[in-house]
Each structure stands twice: as structure tokens, then as C-alpha cells.
Symmetry: C2
């Protein structure tokens, strides 16, 4: 139907990203394509500066910065980021805690922006991190406003535990989503990283439904239950403000 070689090339590229640093044979096995084909693809991608081989370490392959530079320029989240950055900045100043902006990619949330806290004790999520929806405040908020179909599909996949406190029971998650909807924001105490509590709210486009979410997070010692409501309403208000400014 369409450009088989391109498809395999991209599949190889994604495999490199996932397994890096990785060698030829392992890649060929992972993608289930003959070595010779993978080899040609690798050389091509190298010429294009999208991947590079380690100088030592038997010349294993990794993604090159150029690939990152190309794809990060913009990305669909960029318009969201543009309208979000102002309100998020205000929210950061108001709460003094770390703020995350995340958008969905397949079954994960991807962190596309972060504003830092001045505190020495910081909640840290690297930009570009892919985190499970059921284990994060952003993901839960997003799920809470997603369609039933999507939630069902999501919950059919095995729910891994990021920490001992992660919700792994689909029933429990469903109930929590209901709570989030009635409350307007999500609370995730230690479900993604032990000792980190986060409070999130969904960004909802009138036309497209939920398109991402935001959260404020910090050490559980600072984000105590008595602050949940204050931070929750602040996050929810900021999310509403961004939602209204969305292009859709």
C-alpha cells in the first residue's frame, strides 16, 4: 500500500531509540528483518545524521542529537505549550513547586514542559519522559476526561506498578477516575515515585476533548493533605484557563 522501505526504516529507528546503544544483530532480531536490510537502513540513517555509532563499545548505535533537534522543533504539543507557558509560569510562582505539562502518546504521557521549584528538594522528571497514565497525576487527570472506549482499552493492558503505591487494579482506577471527575483534579501520592506527591488537571479542547494535562508536584513532606484542596483548585483553575485559550 505504501513505501515499505520507509516503514521498516522508521521501525528500525524506533528500535534504536528503545534499545540504544544497540548492535546490528540485536536490532535485526527486534524488528524481525534480515540483517542485510537493517544494515543498509542503518548506514542511510547515519548519513542523514539521525543515528550515530559509538566510537568504542563495538560501534553500537544510538539516536543522534540531530534527530532530537528536528522533532523537538515544534511538535504538535508546541501550540499547547505556547498558550500554556504563561499560566503555568503563574502557577509555578503561586505554588512554588515543580510544574509539569504532559501530552498523551499512545498509552503514555510525555512530559513536554517543566517549570522548576526553587526548593532544594525537587521533584524531577526529565523532559521527554514517558510515564504510565495510571501511575501519574497527569495521566489520571487525562484518563478521567477521556472516552469510555479509550479508558477500557487502556485498562485492558497490564497495569505496571512504578512504586508499591501505584494503583494496579482496573476497578480501583475506574473508581478513582470518578472521584477525579467530581473533584476536578487528580491526586497521586507516591504512585509514580516514592515520596513524591502530585496534583493534576486535564487540558480539554472543546473540539478535541482532552489533549494533555498539567500537574504540580513535590516531596510528600511538603505537599501534605492539608494543601491538596488549595493546590487542587489552583491547578484546576489554571487548566481551565489554558483550555479556553487552546486553538481548537
Amino acid at each position: 500500500m505504501s513505501t515499505r522501505s520507509v516503514t521498516t526504516a522508521i521501525r528500525v529507528l524506533e528500535a534504536v531509540a528503545e534499545l540504544q546503544p544497540v548492535g546490528l544483530s540485536e536490532l535485526a532480531r527486534a524488528v524481525d528483518v534480515p540483517k542485510a536490510t537493517v544494515q543498509r537502513v542503518l548506514v542511510t540513517l547515519e548519513e542523514l545524521q539521525w543515528i550515530e555509532r559509538a566510537k568504542r563499545d563495538g560501534g553500537k548505535w544510538s539516536i543522534a542529537v540531530h534527530a532530537y533537534a528536528v522533532t523537538s522543533r515544534g511538535s504538535s504539543g508546541s501550540r499547547i505549550r505556547d498558550v500554556a507557558i504563561g499560566p503555568l509560569s503563574a502557577l509555578q510562582l503561586e505554588t512554588g513547586e515543580t510544574i509539569h505539562l504532559a501530552v498523551p502518546d499512545e498509552l503514555r504521557m510525555v512530559v513536554i514542559e517543566r517549570l522548576d521549584t526553587p526548593h532544594v528538594l525537587r521533584a524531577f522528571l526529565a523532559l521527554g519522559s514517558r510515564i504510565p497514565m495510571h501511575a501519574s497525576a497527569t495521566g489520571l487527570a487525562f484518563l478521567a476526561y477521556s472516552s469510555d472506549e479509550f479508558v477500557s482499552v487502556y485498562l485492558q493492558h497490564p497495569l505496571g506498578a512504578s512504586t508499591p503505591d501505584t494503583m494496579v487494579d482496573p476497578q480501583e482506577v475506574r473508581a478513582e477516575l470518578q472521584v477525579i471527575r467530581s473533584r476536578g483534579y487528580s491526586i497521586n501520592p507516591g504512585g509514580l515515585s516514592s515520596g513524591i506527591t502530585a496534583i493534576g488537571a486535564a487540558l480539554i479542547s472543546r473540539e478535541l476533548g482532552p489533549v494533555g494535562s498539567i500537574s504540580v508536584s513535590g516531596p510528600s513532606s511538603r505537599i501534605t493533605p492539608d494543601k491538596f484542596e488549595e493546590y487542587g483548585t489552583a491547578v484546576a483553575a489554571t487548566a481551565r484557563q489554558i483550555s479556553m485559550a487552546l486553538p481548537g
Copy 2:
């Protein structure tokens, strides 16, 4: 010699990234490939979730989050980022200003990490920004420790002015690099954005030479000349610390 269709596909992808949101005809012109071919590539890339078409706006193409998620997972800079994040966090707390971590891609510096200030007045560079070397503290620091060949090649290209204060004379840049080397850090007052001053230092791998650089930046009203030395030595010390922890 190798996989022509893949090459054109990647060229199309890069063109989309650069011109997004962009339509079929414009793309075909940009990459100088028949519309029909571009069309097939676009459909393929869409199936792979690497690009997406706007719902409104005549269905123009943009890079999808998935592409960003794939390439940001790791990227060669990731190991740098991993070892850098701790020291950078300390530097951010020490100075209270925005910290950037950038690595070279072709003739630009690409911002791969940022720790920002809690100040209302913020120096902001979006992640993934590609900035000219001669116009940025990070770039100048990187150049200062690059090979003569690379510097010569770089200076042969036209030096664009990002602001009225950008150095555009190759001689002047060369002299500045000398100053940076003897001082140990770079200073860039308003050369990238008017009213923003940045101080940078290079990350140097013993085996590979310069692999990136870091900088602290803020409004020129805060980063005044009397702070140059204090911040400069701090940045340089942090850079040295990271350099020693580098894998190479």
C-alpha cells in the same frame, strides 16, 4: 548507494519539521520531489504516527508528539544530561538564574535541558531551540574549545545577527574565543536576545573534546558586570565537575 526512498522520506520529515504547519505542494517544492512521491511519504509517516494533519486549516502537516517521544528517549545527549542534571541543579540553586544545557548539532547549539529560575522575569529558551554558536554563551564556549579546523569552517559561513549586539565579524569572534580560553568562561551580553545576558562554559570529554556546554542566563538588569566573575567561576567549576563525570 543506499535506500533512496528512505532518504527522501527523512528529507520530507525534516521539511515538515521546519515548515510546519505545511501543505503538500509547498513541501514538494521545498524538497524538490514530485507531489505524488511526497504524498505517499506523508501518508506513510502519518500511519507511523510521526506526523499528523491539522483537523481544520486545510489539513496541513505537522510533526506529531510520537516523533518527539521517540527521539527524546535518550538521544546521545542523554548520557550527558544524566550526569549533568545534578550539578546543574546545584548551580541553579546557587545562582538562582536559568540554566541551559546545550549540545552541538551541525552549526547550531541545541538546548536539551533547562532549569529555570523562580523569578518573574525569566530568560526563556524552549527545549529543542537551535541557536547560532557565535551568538550564544553556550556556543561561544563550545567554539573556544573546538579544533581550529572546526572554528575556521564555522566562521566561513555568514554570521547572522540575532540582535544588534551580536558579534558578526569573524576576527572579533576569534579574539573573543581567545579571551574565553584564558578566562575559562564565556560572557554574552545581549548577543542572542536583547536584554538577556548569559555566561557559559564548555563540557569537555577527555577523549572526544568539547561535547556541549552549559550557561546561566537572566535579564541584563540582574546579571550585571559585577556578577560576571562570581557566576563565571561557578559555571566553569560546574562544567569541570560534569566534564570529569562524563563517560568518555
